[in-house]
């Protein structure tokens, strides 16, 4: 093989390689038949019966102890379609009441199993923010991601124990439905288009959870009588637990307070 032939062969093989790559690139990715791809979850066992006449309620208020930090300002100028409230929601305090705390029964339910609600939980993207900022769902329950903005978002959960995914959602496109198979607290969800957009999904096995509202209040209903550990989880301030015993039909108030994280 002379030198010229060798050169020609090298050039040809490089062109062929490049052509193949271009060809692969030109093949438009096939659309999913429906935006309902979910994680494979084992069939749930039958729910343990609970006597409705004995169920108890746990409620309370979560406070922030000390001077509340000023909410960080968000600069949304990189997308003209984003016209939302431009304050971060990582610590939301009003009159000492702490919002967006996920409260759930961490321990005490034993081997009880629960039916997964058939209704989907909606997570709305509006004003380039997630509504709600903190969400609780049962493992296997459908979460419906909606886009009410006139801009493209991408939804990117970054879980530790569940499957990671990343999908874009243009304006006026149908809702994306997903579920999370495994229990995971404070599973971050973010948008890579708008880096300030962050929220947390809490995936639990029982229906006994709540998220504190703007007045720091929460309520967990339908709890069978027993001894429980109630966990209060805040994205920046961490987790605090309390033990509680509830009798039949009892309503117990369990308040909690968080201190500012040490610098």
């Amino acid at each position: 093989m002379n030198r010229k032939t060798g050169l020609t062969m090298m050039a040809t093989s490089m062109l062929v390689l490049f052509g193949l790559l271009l060809l692969a690139a030109c093949n438009k990715k096939e659309e999913q038949p429906a935006n309902t791809m979910s994680q494979e979850a084992a069939p749930a066992p039958a729910a343990t019966p609970i006597d409705p006449s004995t169920v108890a309620t746990v409620n309370g208020t979560v406070k922030f102890d000390g001077t509340a930090p000023k909410p960080s300002k968000i600069d949304m100028s990189q997308d003209p379609a984003c016209k939302g409230m431009n304050e971060a929601e990582n610590i939301v305090v009003a009159n000492g009441d702490l919002a967006n705390v996920f409260v759930y029964v961490k321990d005490g339910l034993g081997s009880r199993t629960f039916d997964v609600p058939k209704d989907a939980v909606v997570l709305d993207q509006q004003g380039c923010k997630y509504h709600p900022h903190v969400l609780g769902v049962m493992a296997g329950q459908t979460v419906q991601f909606k886009n009410d903005d006139m801009t493209t978002h991408n939804i990117h959960p970054t879980p530790k124990d569940n499957r990671e995914w990343n999908e874009s959602q243009p304006p006026s496109s149908p809702a994306i439905e997903k579920n999370f198979a495994r229990e995971e607290i404070m599973l971050p969800v973010k948008c890579n288009q708008h880096p300030w957009m962050k929220m947390y999904i809490n995936v639990v096995k029982s229906p006994f959870f709540a998220v504190t509202d703007k007045s720091g209040k929460y309520e967990i209903k339908g709890l069978p009588p027993g001894d429980y550990t109630i966990a209060f989880v805040q994205e920046k301030l961490g987790e605090q637990d309390q033990k509680v015993t509830v009798g039949p039909k009892e309503t117990k108030t369990v308040d909690q307070s968080f201190k500012a994280a040490a610098e």
């Binding site: 090298m10 050039a11 062109l15 690139a25 990715k29 874009s168 300030w196």
Partner: protein, 335 residues
């Protein structure tokens, strides 16, 4: 002081002499201006791609376009140009341009270049840019695992160094000038120091990449910065103090020293804006983005300069080896 030697040349004499008196064959080649300018342009575009990639990472926009190799299902259709898409899509388009430029320079080199090793270097450049594109795709499809993202960052700078080397080898000075050669008898040799500089810079690049991509804490990168500073300063000072009369060595040594000082300042600023002040930031803030992108860009220039210095040292300041004499001759000289 190094030991002067007879000059070697690619253009003029086709023969050169090494310190042992052996005659080396040189391949006569001619300067091709258009080819060289295209090689320089390709290296410049590679630098732009690295800077664009740094912008993507600093703005946390790496996954704003969730598919690859297409972007929202299309190869080149311009998407809604807002948010993180601006950075990621632009990075992809400039990178695509770079692949085309590299293919062109590779074919052009194969057709016009007589130096076989340079033809192979051009082929290596093309293979590297393809590997780099695939790593970029894997970064997207695997949701930015730190190891893959760091490999993407490292191979990018490897490609940039290859592109710079091709630009250097096709340059008029390299092709036509008779290099001034001085043999290096110091230990460690300048050649060893130049290679060590490249090695510590690569380690630094990997540590920095792992930190940026959340695979490692910041402190290994900062700790290695001390080693990098020491090795690079040693190399540059040795080059300037002993071989400053050789312009081809003096220039990259001065540039390397200047870039090192700049890079240390940028690294400090990036640390302050990212780690010290920006750890609770709700979104990437301009001072952090500017400092980090500049830190990455100057880091790439620093690595490329170290490579250029190593090449020039290899050419102008070769290592002089003491030739072992047969036993009988050693005894005679001792007597």
């Amino acid at each position: 002081m190094g030991q002067p030697a007879q000059p070697t040349s690619n253009a003029g004499s086709s023969r050169a002499v090494d310190p042992r008196g052996n005659t080396l064959k040189a391949i006569p080649t001619t300067y091709n201006r258009a080819h060289h300018i295209f090689a320089v342009f390709t290296a410049c575009v590679a630098f732009v791609v690295i800077t664009a990639g740094a912008l993507v990472t600093s703005n946390d926009a790496g996954l704003s376009v969730p598919d690859w190799p297409t972007s929202f299902g299309y190869l080149v259709k311009v998407p809604h140009f807002v948010g993180g898409i601006r950075y990621e899509w632009s990075h992809r388009m400039v990178a695509g341009t770079l692949v085309t430029l590299t293919l062109t320079i590779a074919i052009w080199t194969l057709l016009v270049e007589r130096r076989r090793w340079l033809r192979w270097l051009a082929v290596a450049a093309f293979c590297t840019v393809i590997a780099q594109a695939i790593l970029g795709g894997l970064t997207v499809l695997l949701f930015q695992p730190p190891a893959v993202s760091t490999a993407h960052a490292t191979v990018a700078q490897t490609f940039f160094c290859i592109a710079v080397a091709i630009a250097l080898f096709t340059g008029r000075k390299w092709v036509e000038e008779q290099p001034r050669v001085e043999f290096d008898q110091r230990r460690p040799s300048l050649s060893t120091l130049a290679l060590l500089s490249i090695f510590v810079l690569y380690v630094q690049l990997i540590l920095g990449g792992m930190f940026r991509h959340h695979g490692m804490s910041w402190w290994p990168h900062v700790a290695n910065a001390v080693i990098v500073s020491f090795v690079l300063a040693w190399t540059a000072i040795r080059a300037l103090s002993v071989y400053s009369q050789i312009e081809a060595v003096r220039r990259p040594a001065i540039v390397m020293l200047s870039l090192l000082i700049t890079q240390l300042c940028l690294g400090f600023t990036a640390f302050l804006t990212r780690v010290a002040w920006g750890k609770d930031a709700v979104q990437p803030e301009l001072p952090m983005v500017a400092a980090t992108v500049a830190h990455v860009a100057v880091g790439a220039l620093l690595l490329a300069t170290a490579v250029v210095l190593a090449i020039q040292v290899w050419r102008h300041v070769p290592v002089a080896f003491a030739e072992p004499l047969p036993q009988g001759q050693q005894d005679a000289s001792a007597a």
